[in-house]
Amino acid sequence: MVVSAFRRPSDQFSNNVIPAPFSIQNFKDVFSGDNGFGRGLLNSLIVAGSVTILTLVIGMVAAYTLARLDFKGKNIVLAIIITTSMFPGISLVVPLLKLFVNIHWINTYQAMIVPSLSFALPLAVWNLTAFFRQMPQELEQAAMVDGCTPAQAFRKVIIPLAAPGVFTTAIITFIAAWNEFLIALSMTNKKSIQTANVIVSQFTGTTGRDQPFGSQMAAGVVVTIPLVIAVLLFQRRIVAGLTAGGVK
């Protein structure tokens, strides 16, 4: 299984077992023509990027609150946040789809970004809470002794120091948002706004009926490579992030 993870992306360009005549034709096909793959990549980037940024901004405040402040019903809030990440996507998509049809949001970026927050936000809050908890509280106390307000302490001391954790969460959120399929598929029917995932899944061959595996695989590689690079570069961080969210 591990072997196949490595082997397949490399030899998937041809339908033979071995990539006999190595060519970049598939890659050319992917970007040329009217399947709008380049546009799809851009759309994916816009959607996943916005989801990540929004999630971080909103989630960081919540996570910090949950990690530091002591207040009534904290466990309930935390439980609610975790539970929301478990709802099946489709039961959220159906009503949202109808709503978005009514307010003419179909084929807009926000129609894809907003529902994506439903799984991205709990994930981020959960992760970040774990990270913030690991930071010694003396840091803010020291800052506040030096005359910072809690908000300043958060902004000037905690955020810079939490950067690694925030960064990890950003990667995980981005990967999750980049991989999102159901929402992107439901909320769009125009090529120019679909994300790369949707476009790749709907590739048709140049001759119409054949399965364009060559270009699909090439497109798949293009979609995957940024993630794989990110994963390889930051694997230690990602593992830390995943396990912080999942177990500890």
């Binding site: 299984m1 099946p88 595996f213 177990v247």
Partner: protein, 349 residues
């Protein structure tokens, strides 16, 4: 005091304790948490309620009793639900229900076994652990859609898989073989994930425990059964629960690998999506609600029976983090409802 009740609470408590830096944080916390809760309310709570409402309506055009065309949504009560279970749609529903359950059970069992095995291997293999870890993360990071395409290509009639096992099975058509292809693809993608979480659990087990077992003369199997498994259980249960919930809503993989409208792989998510895509929001919402209830029931049972401590995790972590962090203050009054409720869910099982 003339202030309203919720506000009154704080000033009353205040003088009892010494002034702390996070004094009076209730309101601050509420302010800081409100964006998150607001967003979740919009994207999770509202849809759930809307789905419940929607599932009682039928949209689109109908003919009323006198043959006139009725525009817009119509209240149909529970008809969408009863329609689900009978007739042709009933067959579709039970088939999808069976498929969803089948995938969940088979995939999660396989993934758990393989994942634990992987974790054990990884815990041993210190050399090149980075590479192993990376190769395990890669399938996880590949978008499901892409991995579905990958497997679709592997399972082509003239594809690698047939070449290797020397048969001519039409994998991604219909029948048991397409089910199997989904199971294989899903396992490939997510067993590593379980492995990773279990590995994290394994690493928290101190080596002394194993040494003690060795001294007591336990063999490898006994060590695994009596020491590794119980200690890794919390991590494993959480991982398995996440996987179960994930597989119950499986959509991308069968949708891309085999395709829509295939009896042998249609899942509840796909069914609901199909209805919604055809602007039959009522039935779609009904299907989605059924799935939602199914997921909730499974999650509840899992937590209750096996005691997966997902939420208690937060509570358990709290005192730990509190040592250097919060310092749980000694409230002379009763502990907050939240803490009490959470400790119930945590300890009850």
């Amino acid at each position: 005091m003339t202030v309203s009740a919720p506000v009154a609470e704080r000033p009353v408590r205040k003088p009892k304790r010494q002034q702390r830096f996070d004094e009076g944080t209730g309101r601050l916390a509420a302010i800081l948490l409100s964006p998150t809760l607001l967003v979740l309310a919009v994207v999770v709570l509202f849809p759930i309620i809307a789905a419940l409402r929607e599932s009682l309506f039928q949209s689109g055009q109908h003919l009323d009793a006198n043959g006139f065309v009725v525009q817009g949504s119509q209240f149909v009560g529970l008809r969408n639900y009863t329609d689900i279970f009978k007739g042709d749609t009933g067959h579709r529903f039970w088939n999808a229900f069976y498929n969803t359950t089948f995938f969940t059970v088979v995939c999660v069992v396989l993934e758990t076994v393989l994942g634990v095995a992987m974790a054990l291997v990884m815990a041993k293999a210190f050399k090149g652990r980075g590479i192993v870890r990376a190769s395990i993360l890669v399938p996880w990071a590949i978008p499901t859609v892409i991995s579905a395409l990958l497997w679709k290509w592997v399972f082509q009639a003239d594809g690698i898989f047939n070449a290797i096992i020397g048969t001519q099975v039409l994998w991604s058509t219909e029948g048991w073989q397409s089910k199997l292809s989904i199971v294989i693809a899903d396992t490939w993608k997510t067993a590593p994930f379980i492995g990773l979480l279990v590995l994290a659990g394994l690493q928290t087990i101190p080596a002394e425990v194993y040494e003690a077992a060795k001294v007591d003369g336990a063999n490898a199997w006994q060590t695994f059964l009596r020491i590794t498994m119980p200690l890794v259980k919390p991590a494993l249960l959480v991982a398995v629960l996440f996987r179960i919930l994930d597989t119950l809503r499986i959509f991308d993989l069968p949708f891309v690998l085999v395709g829509a409208h295939k009896d042998s792989v249609e899942t509840l998510s796909m069914l609901a999506f199909d209805e919604a895509a055809n602007v039959r929001y009522g039935p779609a919402a009904a299907y989605a609600t059924v799935l939602f209830v199914y997921v909730a029931v499974v999650a509840y049972l899992f937590v209750k029976i096996l005691g997966a401590d997902v939420i208690g995790e937060a509570r358990a972590k709290k005192p730990g983090g509190g040592a250097k962090g919060k310092r749980r203050r000694d409230r002379e009054a009763a502990p907050s409802i939240g803490a009490a409720a959470a400790s119930n869910t945590g300890m009850g099982v």
